[in-house]
């Protein structure tokens, strides 16, 4: 935050007693040097001065009404007398007016009094003076007279009535709290209780009750002498800074917003207090900017419409050299007319690009191509130019011209190439002959043969017309279409390319601030700053199909609808409404963590262990990764986590991934499983990310595009071709992958888990030799995996987790889990199932093989339990409510249910 330097008076040094009679500072004690002079607040704020201002105000109103009434009555008396005489012709007799009649004297007196009224109203009703430099362009300002910067400049008269009310209310607050000083905090508190403060709190989403207590505490700190309150040096400095702020923002008067912003910026305890109750300083400053922007837009609106009255609303220009454009009118929309009629809102944050376009046109009467992704605001920039053309704030080549947007889909509709070409030629002819037309062609690729998917090619016609200087046009397209259809053609070489980048989040917030009013009006809801901020940040982070600011605006619009439909009109759009919309669009849970979810996250290990036996390190690692992600502590430019699970087959690598998907991501379907054994040759890259130009995309990229919040399981990683593994370097490092058609697919909300059997024999032998896990891991990374994966690839993983071979005890536990699953199936048929410990142990013994993990156990259970159960069910030996009990020796006892 830029700090304006204040200076203490060198004579009285700001001492309250000495400064009263100090002639150097005029009693201010402190001030700010500026081009207008030394800015000082010298007006005393006392009970008497506050009363006097109020009395003065009321006195002037009453006095003016009195004067006006007397004047009118005097004049009316004259005419009443004339009417009484019954002869109106007397009025024509000049002698009457100087003949000395009392009622004629009243007429002259009344008229003189009216003149006096004009003088009084003009001189005594305007309470504030305009801030110097207001309404003057910077160029004019430079030419203006220079003022001695050492002369005192009294700022009090430049404060609006509203701002003065705030200062006086600060006095009352100090008095109520028995304070003898009016500090910047008192000024801030006073601002909050004003109408502007009310708007501010509404936008911030803050209730006065929330801040009342802490603010009172802050106010009660410091001097308390039960004397009459007076402005402290800090408060006077704030008022001088407010004047500078008003001048900087080109405001007519110093307003409440200036005092509010300056008193907040200058006070750290106040910033800490608001931060503590959930309103960080940058939120407060952005809300101030929002309110400032709205008042700026209101002022600009009036100025724009004053200028718009000069712009013709017909096809004819002001010099009347144009002619009718029948064909063009049929296929186009006049943007200058739309702007002049108020249908085009002001443009925010694209001033640089508009200047670039105008510079391109001015550089040699050249046509311009705007190249940017969908949603970056190409059309908005064109509309901004239309507004500038209405104001005639454009280079001379665009002066007194119309900006006309041709609808290319309508031109080429019908599919008849000769008809479309004829229409296009007529349009160009109209524009050329009229001479006051600047054409706008959005989606210019439709002009080319391959771009419109047909046989017609109008790009060459346009290129010829442009090179002959007959046509001036602003065209727009996407970067991919520019490269594919335009760049290498003659049309591409004739155009000045202006790249339109995606907006940054701060600019997006400003756009949302400027557009929020119209959305609020349409949907009958209100936005808080938090909702705007959330819409901008979440859209930027989670939505990648369209660009900013369009995607953030979409989120904001939909959030307004969600708020209205769920809670009715005149409600506030909350951050949860915004999060709900983003969740719906992307599938990523971005809402605040609920109590039940918090419980689930904290006990994730326990839940996972119901399916995965042992492997504590792996379970803890994935659980922690998820907790970090939900607490928003993970990096926003990488996947949530990248893991490499190493270990022999059947030890639970894939099972843990499935369990995680089911437990946290909702279902096992939330897992994107890629069998890397299917990608053994280099050409299979196309299958994974899509062949160049193939709109259907690749298997992996499309799956992640559709389901961005998921687990990506790369099974049997060691079997994939090394070139394919290189693709994952980018995924694991930057969290994105570009598919065959150039779309960037976001992996930042995925957990990438790769499994591999590589080094299984080594793991098993080391485990058998009781080697510690860390040593096994080191051995794997330094020796065993070296020939299989490149070191930089292994380095990208957040964790390389070694899955230990299963022990007999583990297999017993797994057997219990599998039998539990069988019991559930039996229960669904109306029976019950159990197994005694000996039977379980027998199954575990049969299924235990350290080389193959839990897989033989599954086979053993299938053969010894499932087959028996199937026979019993098919033979009809069991009925509903019967109990089936597995005993040692591979037998199942059927306990019949008691007969009813």
């Amino acid at each position: 935050m830029e700090q304006i330097k204040s200076i203490l008076c060198s004579v009285c040094e700001g001492d309250p007693q000495r400064s009263v009679s100090c002639k150097t500072c005029g009693g201010a004690g402190i001030g700010i040097p500026s081009n207008d002079g030394f800015l000082v607040w010298t007006e005393p704020i006392t009970f008497f001065s506050i009363r006097l201002r109020k009395i003065r105000h009321i006195f002037h109103i009453l006095f003016h009404v009195f004067l006006f009434t007397v004047a009118i009555l005097s004049i009316a008396t004259f005419f009443w007398q004339i009417t009484k005489m019954g002869d109106a012709t007397i009025l024509a007799d000049m002698h009457l007016y100087t003949a000395g009649y009392w009622y004629v004297s009243l007429l002259w007196f009344g008229l003189l009094l009216l003149c006096y009224c004009i003088f009084r109203v003009s001189e005594f009703t305007e309470e504030s003076k305009q801030v110097p430099g207001w309404g003057i362009s910077k160029r004019q300002l430079k030419k203006g007279k220079t003022v001695s910067t050492t002369a005192l400049f009294h700022i009090a008269p430049y404060f609006s009535a509203h701002a003065r009310d705030i200062i006086e209310d600060a006095y009352k607050i100090a008095q109520t709290m028995n304070r003898s000083d009016i500090t910047p905090i008192t000024l801030f508190a006073s601002c909050l209780t004003s109408a502007a403060g009310n708007t501010f709190m509404t936008r911030l989403g803050m209730r006065f009750d929330t801040i009342k207590g802490p603010l009172s505490k802050l106010l009660s700190q410091g001097v308390n002498m039960y004397a009459e309150p007076q402005l402290t040096l800090d408060a006077k400095r704030i008022l001088a800074q407010s004047f500078v702020s008003a001048q900087k923002h080109e405001r007519q008067f110093v307003d409440a917003l200036d005092i509010f912003t300056e008193s907040f910026n200058a006070n750290e305890p106040l910033q800490n207090l608001l931060d503590q109750i959930g309103f960080p300083p940058d939120h407060i400053r952005n809300v101030c900017e929002w309110l400032s922007l709205q008042s700026e837009l209101r002022e600009n609106h009036a100025r724009f419409f004053a200028l718009a009255t000069l712009k013709p609303r017909t096809v004819m220009n002001r010099s009347m050299t144009a002619r009718q454009t029948v064909m063009l009118d049929r296929y186009s929309e006049d943007l200058t007319w739309a702007a002049a009629s108020g249908y085009i809102p002001p443009v925010i944050g694209r001033e640089k690009q508009i200047e670039e376009v105008l510079r391109g046109i001015e550089s040699g009467n050249r046509s311009v191509a705007l190249v940017g992704e969908h949603g970056v605001g190409r059309q908005t920039i064109i509309e901004g130019i239309a507004r500038k053309m209405v104001e005639e704030d454009v280079p001379s080549i665009l002066f007194d011209k119309r900006l006309v947007s041709v609808s290319l889909p309508h031109v080429i509709s019908g599919g008849d190439p000769s008809l479309a070409t004829e229409r296009f030629l007529s349009i160009l002819q109209d524009a050329e002959q009229s001479g006051n037309i600047i054409l706008v062609l959005n989606g210019m690729e439709a002009l080319t043969q391959s771009g419109n998917g047909g046989t017609m090619d109008m790009a060459e016609i346009l290129s010829t017309e442009i090179s002959r200087g007959n046509i001036l046009a602003i065209l727009s397209t996407t970067p991919s279409a520019w490269t594919a259809y335009i760049e290498k053609r003659s049309l591409g070489s004739k155009l000045v390319k202006v790249h339109i980048p995606e907006m940054n989040v701060q600019d997006v917030k400003r756009v949302l601030m400027s557009k929020s009013g119209s959305i609020e009006w349409k949907q009958r809801v209100f936005f808080s700053y938090a909702a705007l901020d959330k819409a901008a940040t979440l859209a930027d982070r989670f939505i990648h199909d369209t660009a900013n600011p369009a995607k953030a605006l979409d989120v904001l619009r939909e959030s307004a609808v969600v708020a209205r439909t769920s809670r009715g009109e005149n409600t506030f759009v909350t951050i949860d409404d915004v999060a709900k919309v983003v969740h719906g669009k992307t599938g990523v849970p971005v809402e605040s963590v609920t109590v039940s979810e918090r419980e689930k996250l904290l006990k994730l290990e326990d839940h996972l262990h119901t399916r995965v036996i042992g492997q504590d390190e792996a379970v803890t690692a994935v659980s922690q990764a998820l907790r970090r992600a939900r607490a928003e502590l993970s990096s926003t430019h990488r996947p949530l986590s990248n893991f490499l699970f190493l270990g022999p087959t059947g030890v639970g690598k894939t099972e843990l991934t499935k369990a995680l998907a089911a437990e946290y991501f909702g279902s096992e379907d939330a897992m994107i499983r890629v069998d890397m054994s299917e990608y053994q040759d280099k050409s299979s890259i196309d299958r994974m990310i899509g062949a160049p130009g193939d709109q259907s995309g690749g298997l992996l990229t499309e799956a992640v595009r559709k389901k961005p919040f998921a687990i990506v399981l790369l099974d049997e990683l060691e079997k994939a071709h090394p070139e394919i593994l290189n693709l994952f370097l980018q995924v694991m490092d930057d969290g994105r992958l570009t598919d065959g058609v150039g779309r960037t697919v976001d992996f930042t909300n995925t957990i990438v888990i790769a499994t591999s059997n590589a080094g299984s024999a080594f793991i098993q032998s080391e485990i058998a030799a009781n080697a510690p896990v860390e040593e096994i891991k080191r051995g794997l990374l330094e020796r065993e995996l070296k020939g299989i994966f490149r070191p930089e690839f292994l380095n990208r993983f957040d964790g390389v987790i070694v899955f230990k071979p299963l022990t007999f005890e583990d297999v017993v536990k797994i057997a219990k889990i599998l039998l539990l699953q069988i019991a559930k199936k039996i229960e669904a048929k109306g029976m019950s199932f159990s197994a005694d410990d000996e039977a379980i142990s027998e199954l575990a013994t049969a299924g235990f093989d350290p080389q193959f993990g839990a897989r033989p156990l599954r086979r053993a259970i299938q053969e010894r339990v499932d087959n028996l159960l199937a026979n019993l069910l098919l033979e009809g030996k069991v009925a509903r409510k019967d109990h089936l009990h597995l005993i040692a020796g591979g037998h199942i006892n059927v306990e019949k249910a008691p007969e009813i």
Partner: protein
Amino acid sequence: MKSKVLTLVRFFSVETVGSIVWFPFWWYSKGVTQLIHYFIQTLSYRIKSYSFAIWIQNFFNPMYGQQDITGRIVSVFMRFFVILFRFIALCFEAILYGIATLLWLALPASFTVLLITNILWNR
């Protein structure tokens, strides 16, 4: 207390009685300046809306895109008369403002003279 009384006295003397003294000075200095400034602003807006500069720049450019010789001749005449009539309208408006300014200057003085004459001639 003394300073408060002084302030009150100053307020009433300056803003009531004092304003009566200040009135004629204001009327013939700041008041008339403000009025003339307003008239100048209105006239410059009118000049812009009449587009004199644009019409003079395009004096020989044919109107309505009529590029043939007849169209060009008619256009030159048309432009000449439009500029002339607009100029006359502008002059007329400027004269009205001039009269209004003279009235502004004359009114309070005339009213005062007539009032005094009437009072002195009182029957």
